[in-house]
């Protein structure tokens, strides 16, 4: 029957209290990317509402493979969490299926859209954020050669790519952007090799949207910087403020020019609060852009980016917010 739920094996979870949990993809809550960011949001929410980690409070489950998504989501359902997040587009199918099976539970998915009455979808306007870091790159490149390293060639990543290129072109039409995909989000060696070939061919700024593969980009930039400290090369971080990742050992410098931050934490926090207060946006697709502060450039940017550049970035930001500029989300739109 539809009402398949059973009592959780321990009833410590008090029904009165609001409990929320999330399932990560293979990244885990420390992937220096959206999983981690999401967990930070959830923790913030938990602490502010005096919840404790675990059943009946706030919690997470990490997946070790595609096969685990459904199982993990179900686990949380069976533990009676009131709101359950699936983090990452990989979770789409699992959420869709389980949402159907458990119409009385509330779900949310990040980075993808699921049209079910009991699912709230959270997506981001990565292209907008990418546009801004594109502006930074366009203004700061010395060689007029800029690089973009993507993880897997997906519509999602294409948003980063197109937004970024648009940003560059907007401020520096005769700069060229070399685009290359590593084919994976967890192949640091490929990231490093790609970066090495890009820098060697004169590129001086690389924007990566490649998760763990990006680590390779950083390590290459750092090694080059160590070899020749006055070499002008930069990396633009993604998802979170990656200033730390760019730190050059033995110095206080970082090769991280700026980062396109994607405030999954904010979004998760918002949605959890909304739901707690009884207005769960079921069936809706909430999109977080510059306007909602869902995306933007990292505050640490000022360390390496001069004032005037940041000023221009702000101007573009306004233009986008008030609709003067429409940022492309696909290569097609870019043309």
């Amino acid at each position: 029957g539809q009402q398949g739920q059973e009592e959780p094996k321990t009833d410590e979870g008090k029904v009165s209290e609001f409990s929320v949990a999330m399932v990560t993809d293979m990244g885990g809550i420390d992937d220096k990317s959206f999983n981690q960011s999401a967990w930070e949001g959830l923790q913030k929410f938990g602490e502010e509402n005096g919840l404790k980690k675990g059943k009946g409070g706030y919690d997470y489950l990490q997946s070790k493979g595609d096969a685990d998504y459904a199982t993990n989501l179900n686990k949380l359902v069976r533990n009676d969490f009131d709101l359950i997040f699936g983090i990452g587009y990989l979770m789409t199918d699992a959420i869709t299926e389980i949402a159907e099976q458990k119409p009385d539970n509330k779900f949310a998915i990040v980075d993808s859209v699921v049209e079910k009455p009991n699912v709230a979808s959270i997506t981001f306007k990565e292209h907008e954020g990418s546009f801004l870091v594109g502006v930074v790159a366009g203004l700061m490149t010395k060689t007029n050669k800029i690089g973009f390293v993507g993880g897997v060639e997906l519509p999602l990543i294409e948003k980063f790519e197109s937004g970024f290129i648009a940003g560059v072109k907007a401020v520096n039409p005769n700069a060229t952007v070399t685009v290359q995909y590593a084919g994976a989000f967890d192949k640091a060696d490929k990231g490093k090799a790609i970066a090495s070939s890009m820098y060697a061919s004169g590129v001086d700024i690389i924007y990566h949207a490649a998760g763990g593969t990006g680590n390779g980009v950083f390590s290459e930039a750092i090694d080059l910087k160590k070899q020749d400290p006055n070499k002008e090369i930069w990396v633009i971080g993604v998802d979170r403020d990656q200033y730390e990742e760019g730190k050059v050992p033995g110095t206080d410098k970082s090769v991280t020019l700026t980062s396109m931050v994607k405030r999954v934490d904010v979004a998760v926090y918002d949605l959890a609060t909304k739901t707690k207060n009884g207005n769960f946006p079921g069936g809706q697709a909430v999109e977080y852009g510059l306007k909602e502060d869902g995306v933007g450039i990292a505050p640490t940017s000022k360390n390496n980016v001069p004032e005037d550049v940041l000023k221009q970035v702000d101007e573009w930001k306004q233009k986008i917010i008030n609709g003067e500029v429409k940022v492309p989300t696909t290569r097609a739109e870019l043309k």
Binding site: A188, A193, S196, S197, N215, S219, L224, E245, P249
Partner: protein, 317 residues
């Protein structure tokens, strides 16, 4: 074109180095007659130890840290390889099986410890790595200098040097002669008063040590942290390189360099004009397809050491 080579060759060498170390380890083990599918796992242990040591002691040892990290990784991995030795030599285990066990155990254990010590799925980024260097004189050679001896990492070059050292040890020294004898015809070696068990233990531990180095330099130079994805298949590629190289140190090195070249070609290729509009998938499968072709075509069959995979039991024919 030259410029392209300057990009491809260094990254080829840099891809190859960890494979070379590990494959050389494999040569020792299998030359003594012990199959070592466990290279992958031993690399994992090496990577794990290298990174953890580096993170923990960076402040004490400063620039020395990565080198010490390699040494420690080497030691720990060779101790770990003892399990394989005990199982497959003393307990007459099926060597493939115990190798598989090593692989599972290495990954499970190291991730378990990472979760325990760092409370998360991967370690932090190591701060002190190896520096890119231009080899003093050599890098000044016209043409070749920039292609072969610039923008490299010292460990990469050491790997190549080591291959020749191993070749010398295996083919020129009494130890090498005995090692090969033990792998070809242990009973003959035994009747000549060679301690088969001891030789095989040494060989397996050497393979552990070298795989440990391979894993640690991979982690420290490339991924800079340790996670489930750090070592994913490199051990098997090293195994392939060893067989591809016909259980010969220089052959193994050649094969590893070949893999490295194909790898970097598949990546850098996308930047090369005439390869630009080739679909990426072809470049991605290039290394593996090439290897198969090479083996089928000009390399032909390789002859494994005769006693490979068979535990030695006194007085049994």
């Amino acid at each position: 074109m030259l410029n392209i080579l300057e990009i491809i060759i260094p990254s080829a060498i840099f891809f190859a180095a960890p494979l070379i170390f590990t494959a050389l380890g494999g040569v020792f083990s299998e030359r003594s007659g012990v199959v070592n599918i466990g290279l992958e796992g031993l690399m994992v242990i090496g990577a794990f130890t290298g990174v953890v040591f580096n993170l923990t002691f960076a402040d004490q040892f400063g620039e020395l840290t990565p080198w010490l990290a390699i040494v420690v990784a080497m030691v720990v991995a060779s101790i770990f390889s003892l399990m394989h030795a005990v199982a497959s030599i003393s307990l007459r285990a099926d060597q493939v099986v115990s190798g598989v066990a090593i692989n599972f155990l290495a990954l499970g254990l190291s991730l378990f410890l990472v979760k325990m010590w760092y409370g998360k799925g991967q370690t932090d980024q190591v701060q002190v790595g190896f520096d890119k260097i231009d080899i003093p004189i050599l890098s000044k050679i016209p043409v070749l200098g920039p292609i072969l001896f610039s923008n490299g990492y010292l460990p990469s070059y050491l790997a190549i040097v080591l291959a020749f050292v191993v070749w010398y040890v295996i083919y020129k020294t009494p130890f090498g002669l005995r090692l090969r004898a033990v792998g070809e015809h242990p009973m003959a070696a035994d009747t000549m008063g060679i301690n088969v068990t001891k030789m095989r233990y040494i060989a397996v531990m050497l393979s552990g040590a070298l795989a440990g180095i391979g894993g640690s330099i991979y982690a420290i130079i490339i991924s800079r942290d340790f996670s489930h994805a750090t070592i994913s298949g490199q051990g098997f590629m090293a195994l392939a390189a060893m067989i591809f190289g016909k259980w010969h140190p220089l052959g193994a090195m050649g094969a590893a360099l070949f893999f490295g070249f194909a790898q970097s070609l598949s990546i850098v290729g996308q930047a090369i004009p005439f390869l630009k509009n080739v679909p990426t998938v072809y470049l991605l499968i290039l290394p593996y397809a090439l290897t198969i072709l090479a083996l089928t075509g000009f390399i032909g069959r390789a002859d494994a050491p005769k006693a490979l995979g068979t535990p030695y039991v006194k007085g049994k024919r």
